[in-house]
């Protein structure tokens, strides 16, 4: 299955998004990489890298980020890993993560899981 990594400055936010995803996708390789090594607020290169490696089953890994250094630090991790099947996806974090998790759980391929995450941009809540 495609792996999904949730990167946030906040440990509890990343874990909360993961908790939400787990309700819909109990088996998919999902992991939270929130906060610093000691749990404090921030983003950690090592933590993100370890998270990516932990969910990489060879079918690709999608990384979803909150803002700022979460994006920049993830970018540096991906440059370090240098694997085209490990990519960031630019989408709303919560809805995108749920969409990606469900797609991964359903066994969709990398591009399809990515497309599902990106579909979060069109998920209207009031209309």
């Amino acid at each position: 299955m495609v792996g999904v990594v949730i990167v946030s400055h906040s440990k509890t936010l990343a874990e909360g998004v993961l908790e939400f995803c787990r309700v819909m996708a109990a088996e998919a390789p999902l992991v939270a990489a929130g906060g610093m090594e000691d749990g404090s607020f921030g983003t950690s290169f090592e933590k993100i890298k370890a998270a990516v490696e932990s969910v990489n089953q060879g079918e690709g890994v999608l990384v979803l980020m909150d803002v700022g250094s979460a994006v920049m630090t993830t970018e540096m991790v991906l440059e370090d890993i240098a694997d085209d099947s490990v990519q960031m996806v630019d989408c709303p974090l919560v809805v995108g993560a749920i969409a990606a998790a469900v797609a991964a759980e359903g066994g969709l391929d990398f591009e399809s899981v990515k497309a599902e995450a990106l579909s979060a941009w069109d998920a209207r809540k009031l209309s």
């Binding site: 607020f41 921030g42 983003t43 250094s69 920049m72 630090t73 540096m76």
Partner: protein, 205 residues
């Protein structure tokens, strides 16, 4: 301008200066950002100091790369990838060198700025560290490399003016951008920390 031993000494002094200014930089960041800049950078440079002995026998390029990688790993906020990339690119500009000339320093700063722009996707005038870095580079080029001390002082003066300039503009990058016009009147923490670093270099050389 500086031998390898002097470069290592400067890095220790930069760490000390960032440590002394940690609260000041964090207060600036509290006003318009997420209030972690000084504390984060101080933590990063403290770790850099711990790592320095292990790379002391390497060339200056490798030492600066190590500084950058350590900042990326330990800072935690946006200044980690930004300064981290800047130091790594600066290191690339002085690969295998055992001594840094004034020309090298200009090349390092130019590469560092390129790194910050690449990572942060920012330009001059967006209330970021670039508003101190780019004027400093321009002023140093104009001052010329014949007198390294005079060159650095010209750069420092321009960086300080750049910090003042950041008070007058709206932030359009980073979390300060959420404040819009309310960011006016506050100096940018990143431009301020760069100026602390450059001031340390200028006072040491």
């Amino acid at each position: 301008m500086a031998t390898k031993t002097q470069v290592i000494d400067i890095i220790h002094k930069v760490s000390a200066a960032i440590g002394e200014n940690a609260q000041f930089l964090t207060d600036l960041d509290n006003a318009i950002g997420d209030g972690d800049h000084g504390i984060n950078l101080a933590r990063g440079f403290k770790k850099v100091e711990e790592e320095l002995p292990a790379v002391a026998d390497k060339d200056i390029g490798a030492i600066l790369k190590k500084v950058g990688m350590t900042l990326v790993s330990t800072v935690g906020g946006a200044s980690g990838p930004l300064y981290g990339t800047a130091f790594m690119k600066a290191g690339d500009a002085v690969k295998e060198k055992e001594e840094v000339t004034a020309e090298d320093f200009i090349a390092m700063l130019e590469a560092g700025i390129g790194g910050v722009q690449l990572r942060g996707k920012a330009e001059k005038g967006e209330k970021t560290m670039l508003d101190a870095m780019i004027p400093a580079l321009d002023a140093m080029r104009e001052a010329g490399t014949a007198d390294a001390k005079a060159m650095l002082e010209a750069g420092l003066k321009a960086a300080k003016e750049g910090v003042e300039y950041t008070k007058t503009i709206i932030a359009t990058k980073g979390r300060a951008s959420y404040l819009g016009e309310r960011s006016i009147g506050h100096q940018d923490p990143g431009a301020s920390s760069f100026t602390v670093i450059l001031e340390t270099v200028a006072n040491t050389v």
